[in-house]
Symmetry: C2
Subunit: 301 residues, 2 copies
């Protein structure tokens, strides 16, 4: 038997798979739309962690050991990364967080201008749905449609976009912890949870397994966001590849602002434990998801 892979190796291997698939799926920067396509490539191929697509693939593998599952899920996994990248481009715009640095590079609008950056985001969001809808011989049309609906809900007005609207609306205002939870759940949690869910749907998980993975995804999304808040408050800009201390500078409520650093660390670990506990019904096939929950809490960027 092979040595079990460390989670870092799994992440590295899967993120390479995603890079290759993104490069294959994205239109090449040629022809009349080369300028627009180049501006999308700039942000998409900037070395993100690829957490969402990796989660999708690993969740699929946790409920179905058929090696075709990864191939079946790749377009959806890449669509998640396109949507995540579009949200970063728009969040960074001067009208939003006005950030100059992202993934260790100047932000999209800094390089291509505001108008082109808005359109790069629009293009990536729209292209994500093309990827999700393209004929996929490894996925039934029923499952493909369910996945598209889930992604649209998670990214839409009552998910990620709605959360971003709350985030900018409540800048520099004091609000109760329940609002922070609503913002986190919608702005970051919804798409992370969705990443796990569509892995489950694409892999044909049983309703019980799908429920377990949904619970895992929700808790993992929370852990992820708490750690994001922590890193913003404690890490350096160089470590993060984006401007550190941005939350405080924008008057945004965060877990550390509500609870202090130490209690926040505890809450992140607790959320990861909740995520791991949700995996119990899945047995040893879910080991990598289990390890991913620990990784999310220990990550440094």
């Amino acid at each position: 038997m092979n040595q079990p892979k460390t989670i870092k190796n799994v992440l590295l291997e899967k993120s390479r798979t995603i890079e290759a698939a993104l490069a294959q799926f994205m239109p090449a920067a040629g022809g009349p739309f080369a300028g627009h396509i180049e501006s999308m490539h700039y942000s998409l191929f900037a070395g993100g962690k690829r957490i969402r697509p990796v989660l999708c693939l690993v969740a699929g593998a946790a409920v179905n050991s058929d090696p075709n599952v990864e191939q079946a899920l790749l377009p959806a996994a890449c669509a998640l990364e396109c949507i995540h990248t579009y949200s970063l481009i728009h969040d960074d715009l001067p009208a939003m967080d006005n950030d100059a640095l992202r993934r260790g590079r100047p932000t999209n609008h800094t390089v291509y201008g505001e108008a082109a950056a808005i359109l790069a985001g629009d293009g990536l969001l729209t292209f994500a749905f093309e990827l999700l809808a393209r004929p996929n011989p490894l996925l039934s049309t029923d499952r493909q449609l369910r996945i598209i609906e889930q992604v649209a809900r998670a990214a839409g007005p009552e998910g990620m976009v709605g959360g971003q609207h709350l985030d900018i609306t409540y800048e520099n205002q004091s609000y109760p912890f329940s609002m922070l939870q609503t913002i986190h759940r919608s702005k970051t949690g919804a798409l992370l949870t969705c990443s796990v869910q569509i892995g489950a749907i694409g892999a044909g998980a049983s309703p019980e397994a799908e429920a377990a993975l949904s619970a895992y995804g929700a808790a993992l999304g929370l852990a992820f966001q708490i750690v994001d808040d922590l890193l913003d408050a404690t890490a350096t800009t160089e470590q993060l590849g984006k401007t550190a201390g941005s939350d405080e500078a924008h008057g945004k409520a965060t877990y550390p602002a509500f609870f202090g650093i130490d209690k926040t660390r505890t809450l992140a670990r607790e959320a990861a434990e909740t995520a791991k506990a949700a995996l119990a019904p899945l047995g040893p096939q879910a080991t990598q998801l289990y390890q991913l929950a620990d990784y999310v809490v220990s990550r440094s960027r």
Copy 2:
């Protein structure tokens, strides 16, 4: 037998159907995301002409007389209007055309601010795909997926968004007529053509009928855009409900700039004739599409 309806009555009746369906499908402006949803409602329910969804419904009826076809197509028709509205909100932004008036009202960013307007557009675009992917008992999953893919392609990097990128890139520059054609085909033509195509797909058109409708849609899209250029140059702001003379003010090439007003009128009529000729294989069921082509050329806003 009933009197044949005039095309104006058809447009009025179908646009009322669309208004009612949009009101039914859109999330209500309540709950935590009320502010975001309200900003989407503001632009969506501002009395647009609803040309794209009407085209979709009328194209469906032209190839399939089953009264269920309209019901089957309504979510897709409404999705087209959401996508068109998002494109208007983003086009009007200060970083793009910086327009203050749209559909006879202050533009979205003028009312809600730039950040909320960017998000209102993002929300409408994402919600459109939710609408397209929701379970639809009147449409096979195969057809639903084909429709989603078509819409994503028409609205995406090599369609509407790519066209808008060209449009802003070439502002105040001189370029050949072939580039104007590329911009028109992608920025406006692609989604108009798609509106007809998805009506055909949803109604189960034969490949021959689908090809005829695609040719119709492409020619109609061209006629529509030529008339848009004409109206921008000749109508008043009051008539248009948006700032007249905007093309010239932004240094945009248009049909009148290339050909003068009279020749442009002729070209619009020719495009409408091409559209009508493409309908020949469909017979008398296509009468309303035939009349719509004439309407598009004669419209005053």
